[in-house]
Each structure stands twice: as C-alpha cells, then as structure tokens.
C-alpha cells in the first residue's frame, strides 16, 4: 500500500513539474492526465487498504470526468491552433493585464 502511494506521489509530482515546465499545450495537457492517473492510483491503493470499493468508484468517476475534460480541452487546443497557428502556451496571452 505504501509503495503504491509512493508511486502515486512520484507520478503526481512528475505531472506537476511537467505542467510547469513544458510549453507545448498538448504535452501540458498530457501531464494533467498523468496527475489524474496518479490520484486514481492513490484511490485504488486506499480502497485496497480499507477493503471497500468506494475508492474504486471514486477512481471510476475521475476517469469519466477526465474523458469529458479531455474532449473539451482538446477542442480548445484545436480552436487556438486554428485561430493563431500555434499551440505554445506562451503565445496565448491575449487576456493578460
């Protein structure tokens, strides 16, 4: 259980660093997915530890939400790519003050 949690934390940290470091919007998005997966792993580990299925159900709902989020997020990336021909997160600075 503790090793699963450790792996989950390592993956979450890698995802967080990736979100901060990478500049390709697609890869940033993949790093968000990695973080969601890491939390899912923690859910499964805790469900195993408690001997109940609630954690697995939470992981399943996270998966559904992630699927919806990916659909909308990729549509946004496509729209941005269409309007400005780039998917670098540095180029999207229209609304900054």
């Amino acid at each position: 259980m503790s090793e699963l949690l450790g792996l989950s934390m390592i993956l979450f940290t890698i995802g967080a660093v990736g979100v901060l470091v990478r500049r390709n919007a697609l890869i940033v998005f993949m790093c968000v997915e990695l973080m969601l997966n890491a939390t899912n792993l923690a859910f499964v580990a805790f469900a195993r530890e408690h001997g109940t299925l609630d954690g697995q159900l939470a992981a399943f709902i996270v998966m559904v939400v992630a699927a919806a989020e990916v659909v909308v997020g990729l549509a946004i990336i496509i729209a941005i790519h269409r309007s400005r021909g780039s998917i670098s997160v540095d180029d999207v600075r229209q609304v900054r003050g």
């Binding site: 699963l4 949690l5 450790g6 995802g15 990736g18 993949m30 997966n37 709902i61 990336i77 729209a79």
Partner: protein, 288 residues
C-alpha cells in the same frame, strides 16, 4: 502451504530479505508486479518531461496508463483495469494522437528556447518542492491513522461497484451523465467551424477558372504534380522547373504554409546544370 515453504527456504535471511518476505507474507501484496511495473511507469512518466515531440510524449503516456492498468489488476480492481485500458489507452490517447496529427507533428514550440529566463529551473524547483510537501503530508496521514481492519476486497468487483454506483452514489452518477452531455456539446461548439461564404458550385468554379485564365493567364487545368517520381517518395518535394528552381504550386498549399516543403536538391550549380540530370533518376529511384 506454499508461502510457508517459501518463507522457510532462505538459509540466512538478511535484514532486507526478512523484511521483504514478512512484508510479502503479511500483506499478500503483489510486490513482484509492482517491482516490475513501477520502474517502467516512472521512466515513461519521465519521458513525458523530456520528450521533444508531442508524439513521443503521447506514447510515453500510453505506457504509463497501461502500467497503471496492470497495477489496478494486481490490486483488486479488475473493473478499473478494463476501464483504464478501454477509456484511457483506447479513447483518450487516441484522441490525443488525433489532435497531434491535426495540429501537425512538427508544429509544437521548440523545447530549447525559453522566453522567460530561468523559468524552467524555477518551475522545476517549485514542482519538486510541491512533491516533497506531498510526500510529507501523505506520510503524516498514513503513519497517524489507519487502524481500519483490512477486509478482503470482494470477489464480485463489478457487482459491488454497481451496487455502490446505483445506491449511495447515484447522484454522482447522474451528474457525470450531465457532464458528459455538456462536454459533447462543448466540444462541438468549440471545434465547429461556421461556413461564412456559400460553397462554390462546379459551374461557378469552372467559370472562375476561365475568367482567371482570361484575365491573368492562370492555367485553368490541374495544378502541376509534385516532384515525387523525380527525387523523393513523398508529396512534399516540389517539382523542378527546367532551370532548376522549385515550383511552389506543385505541392499542397497547407505544406507550404507550414514550411514543410523539402528544399530543392543541392545538385544545382554553375557547373552542374539540372537540365543534364541523369534520366535514370526518373525511373522511380527514390533518393533520401
């Protein structure tokens, strides 16, 4: 029986070995599956950080997801194993790859340049500090609590999940349904492109071509084919005019706009006229 035989086998168990075997025995935890899968998953996740191209990052993420699916299967979550493979690896990663293809494999920002100086180092530092905080927090929680007696996870995993989902958690289930419908509508609205001008009919196109031919002498027929058969085996190589200059109208316009057109060959020069190129080149001999 078997585990007892295994535990009595090591003659002089080291401290680590004793710890590992007792760990194995008392938890019944699939440490072996974890030991195989976890390094692969971590290395693939690091690949997400260091990959230059979005395609490589997507493949690394697929490896991570399959590895996590194996861990789910080994930790009493067979339903999540199937869902992880089907939803994440099957649907989400395919969607990612579709978008990578749509926006162009090469079109991402280059990984080298850094618009804000020092941003990458600072971000990596902040991320690692965040990870350390996470480790400390979770370790505190785990070491303090958890006197929960460990019951066996039921064998009827799917039935148990269904009973939970349609019992106490039915409201969350309904909300995910609403969320999915909203996401579908949102994706359609965001990715849909409204047609601003009416589509040109065939007769109108023919009339326009002949009008352009009459006005500026533009050829009304097909555009010239790319230089595929002459020097290259893909359509991104422009055809060469008799004086050796590339003909830009012979490659698709989207490639020209992306700057993905193969440059003309270096065989041109004062002493090496392209008009004297060997005829053998035309016989489908592909040169890189």
């Amino acid at each position: 029986m078997r585990s007892g035989a295994r535990a009595s086998k090591p003659p002089v168990p080291s401290r680590l070995g004793r710890w590992a075997t007792s760990h194995l025995r008392e938890r019944g935890c699939p440490v072996t599956a974890f030991g195989v899968v976890a390094p692969i998953v971590v290395i693939a996740a690091l690949g997400l950080l260091f990959a230059r191209k979005a395609v490589h990052a997507a493949l690394a993420l697929a490896v991570v997801m399959i590895g996590l699916a194996v861990l789910y299967a080994a930790n009493g979550a067979p339903f999540l194993f199937a869902v992880q493979i089907i939803v994440y690896t099957g649907a989400i990663m395919m969607l990612f790859l579709f978008v990578v293809m749509l926006v162009g494999v090469e079109s991402g920002p280059d990984a080298v340049s850094e618009p804000i100086p020092g941003q990458r180092v600072a971000a990596a530092f902040v991320g690692l500090a965040f990870g350390a905080m996470l480790v400390i927090g979770v370790a505190q929680v785990v070491s303090n609590g958890f006197s929960v007696p460990k019951a066996a996870v039921e064998d009827d995993n799917v039935e148990g999940l269904a009973a939970l989902m349609f019992g106490p958690y039915v409201l969350a289930f309904q909300f995910t349904a609403a969320l999915l419908v909203t996401a579908v509508l949102g994706a359609m609205v965001l990715a849909h492109q409204e047609r601003l001008t009416p589509q040109e009919t065939q007769a109108e196109a023919a009339a326009r071509r002949l009008r352009e031919f009459a006005e500026d002498g533009r050829h009304p027929g097909n555009a010239p084919t790319p230089g595929v058969y002459a020097r290259h085996n893909a359509v991104d190589a422009p055809a060469l005019l008799p004086d050796g200059t590339p003909l830009e109208s012979s490659v698709p316009g989207s490639l020209v706009r992306r700057g993905q057109v193969v440059p003309p060959p270096v065989t041109r020069g004062p002493g090496n006229s392209p008009a004297k190129r060997p005829a053998g080149d035309k016989e489908g001999e592909h040169r890189e």
